[in-house]
Symmetry: C2
Subunit: 111 residues, 2 copies
């Protein structure tokens, strides 16, 4: 069955304070990121990728930064999106947060 049950799935530990669970089809990937260890005093480094990205803030609070734009504080229910190749970053503003990150094409580097 093409589902992922959160409580029955072991996350991948991406780094200290980041756990990831993901699903994908041919051209679409959705990754649930559980962040901990916040609040952080500064943003993570800017990064970019050819993949288009959208993100839903499922819980917590983050600062979203994108090249050429004013930083904006986002919380549960809010979304951001990133065109192909655009440098962006986040800063965790709450103790924990959950982000639902979507990519097209899929992030082969996550598999």
């Amino acid at each position: 069955m093409p589902v992922l049950k959160y409580s029955q799935t072991q996350p991948e530990k991406v780094s200290d304070g980041i756990e990831r669970r993901l699903v994908h089809t041919d051209s679409l990937m959705t990754a649930v990121l559980d962040l901990s260890g916040g609040p952080k005093s500064e943003p993570d480094p800017f990064h970019s990728h050819p993949h288009e990205q959208s993100c839903y803030i499922a819980s917590g609070k983050v600062l979203f930064l994108m090249e050429g734009e004013d930083p904006v504080e986002l919380q549960t229910g809010d979304m951001f999106y990133v065109p192909s190749g655009k440098p962006h970053a986040i800063q965790l503003l709450s103790e924990t947060a959950r982000l639902v990150d979507n990519f097209s094409p899929i992030r082969e580097d996550f598999l």
Copy 2:
């Protein structure tokens, strides 16, 4: 700024019991669906589309049905995904639910 703030955005009323807020890039769309009027006694009609789809259950409980698969109950934190063209449906099992639906390519019919 490429963000959508939930509390500052008026939803589109898709139908009785379905409100939608969405963002998109060229090839990726994310739609937050707020469902109400549940629990329902039967699933919505099966439907299909060429767009690949993934979905994160942000709150509530739904039954996910896909052609050729056993129905599966999903709740907050769970995900499902749908290959291009595959018939699928959901049934709202809680009073309300929030689904984060992702599509690639974008649903031009939602714009």
